[in-house]
Amino acid sequence: MADTTLVSVESPPVERAAAPRVKLLKTGVSRRTAWLLRVASVVVPFVLWWAVSGSGIVPDRFLPAPPEVWAAFTEMAASGDLQSDLLASLGRIGAGFALAVLISVPLGFLMGTVSWAQPLFEPIIGILRYLPASAFIPLLIIWLGIGETSKIALLVLGVVFFNTLMTADVVRQVPRRLLDVSATLGAGRARVAARVVFPHALPGILDALRVNAAVAYNLVVVAELIAATSGLGYRITRAQRFLQTDKIFAILIVIGLIGLTIDVTLRVVRARVGRWSA
């Protein structure tokens, strides 16, 4: 075969590459499989619970079976205790979280936009946020008594510092160029803050709120475990006194479902507001 050419006009056939075997990253999962996995994620533990409690390995008093929990749930719902406890807890979360947001979002916005605010507030908030909010409970009781104020104050303490720093971070991420462009378009400082920085930061602020709503939600139950006469946490302590594990389970499930609802709601709002950043 002396017939060699330097330039080949026809390209040689390309071998089809073998399918990659290792799928550690970005592995595709079909929508159907994903949904199956989501359902399994909830159903499998539930079935395990039912099986273990039904097998009699664990005393009923420690691990009540789902039907008993359901019975406890309907009983509490019928007496109205559940609703009033739920309202009490949600009221505290609403008040505490709202207050925390009213403080932390403007403060974080200030820290992210005004040059003197960052060095003034960051060090102290950086220290305070590492103090566990629940460690303040005794102090709050001494200062504010065992009423509503101390519980709401606990929620504020647990949320406000993290939310401030997270807000400040998001606000700082507005690109320099966007601010420059806005200035050349005749926008003054106030207008840039309201029409450029705020809308740019809003999806990130909502992300921070979603994370910290979970914190507030956890803390309200903690607050009610200590000194309360109403609320879901209080109901759990009462049930503990009478070894009513079925009631405790029912309340835990209610807490979980309400938490999930709050999370999903915030996710939906975030997705709508932040369509552009997706």
Binding site: P175, D180, A183, T184, G186, P199
Partner: protein
């Protein structure tokens, strides 16, 4: 009545001037392109005109009034289109108009006219994220033009675009310039682009930045085919040599 630099110097760090003693007069309606090696302060020059940076010495005047900060008489577009990603195309263009006491109707008409001028009418209601790079840059230029600036400042506006889109945009910006009669000052690192678009090409020297050459360019035609003519290639080569010499000098200075 023009854009004037009077002994303008600029140093971000005292003692290390980025621009030194720039004296320049750009009459209304001129299309000026600025090329230069890195370190020549091209972008700083535009930033000074825009009022985003203050000169350390000298002054810049526009129609006799000194530039003291950003203002709507000078529109600017950057290499990254920097659009408001949450605003639709038409609301991006409208941003500069929302500050003035302008009736809704008048604003709507102005935006519609601008979108027509840049050929994006059908994309008016889209978010910038769904547009191509060239389209985004058109929106950015339309937004800069909204308040009929005396000067349009372009900082490497087509630097991130592919070659075909870039050539489309070159014809586009020339048409805009023809239609509106605005002064255009454009910084670019692409000598071909500078010679093709500019009726006047400024070559900046580095360390510190100053005007090394001020060339008048009269290309023998309008279309992209001009780029292949001998006359065009000769001017382009001349400018490229100048820029290259400054680039070498800059490197030598950096290693000294």
């Amino acid at each position: 009545m023009s854009l004037r630099f009077e002994g303008v110097s600029m140093a971000y760090t005292p003692g290390v001037p980025v621009l030194e003693h720039i004296d320049l007069e750009i009459p209304p309606g001129e299309f000026v392109t600025i090329v230069g090696a890195s370190g020549s302060g091209k972008s700083t020059l535009l930033s000074l005109v825009a009022g985003l940076t203050r000169a350390t010495e000298g002054r810049i005047t526009l129609d006799g009034r000194p530039v003291e900060g950003p203002g709507p008489d000078r529109g600017m577009a950057f290499q990254s289109p920097s659009l408001y990603p949450w605003r639709t195309v038409e609301r991006n263009v409208a941003f500069g108009l929302e500050t003035r006491d302008m009736s809704r109707q008048a604003r709507k008409e102005r935006v519609a006219w601008l979108l027509d001028e840049v050929g994006l009418t059908e994309h008016a209601a889209k978010l910038p994220g769904s547009l191509s790079g060239g389209q985004q840059q058109r929106v950015s230029i339309a937004r800069a033009l909204a308040r009929s600036p005396r000067v349009l400042l372009l900082d490497e506006p087509f630097g991130a675009l592919d070659v075909q889109t870039k050539e489309d945009m070159q014809l586009f910006i020339r048409r805009i310039w023809r239609d509106l009669g605005t002064t255009v000052v454009m910084v670019t690192h692409d000598v071909e682009e500078a010679v093709f678009l500019g009726r006047r090409v400024l070559v900046l020297a580095s360390d510190p930045g100053r005007v090394a050459r001020d060339l008048r360019v009269e290309p023998p035609g309008e279309g992209l085919e001009v780029k292949r003519t001998a006359a065009f290639l000769a001017v382009r080569a001349q400018v490229e040599d100048l820029v290259r010499r400054e680039h070498r000098a800059h490197l030598a200075a950096a290693h000294a």
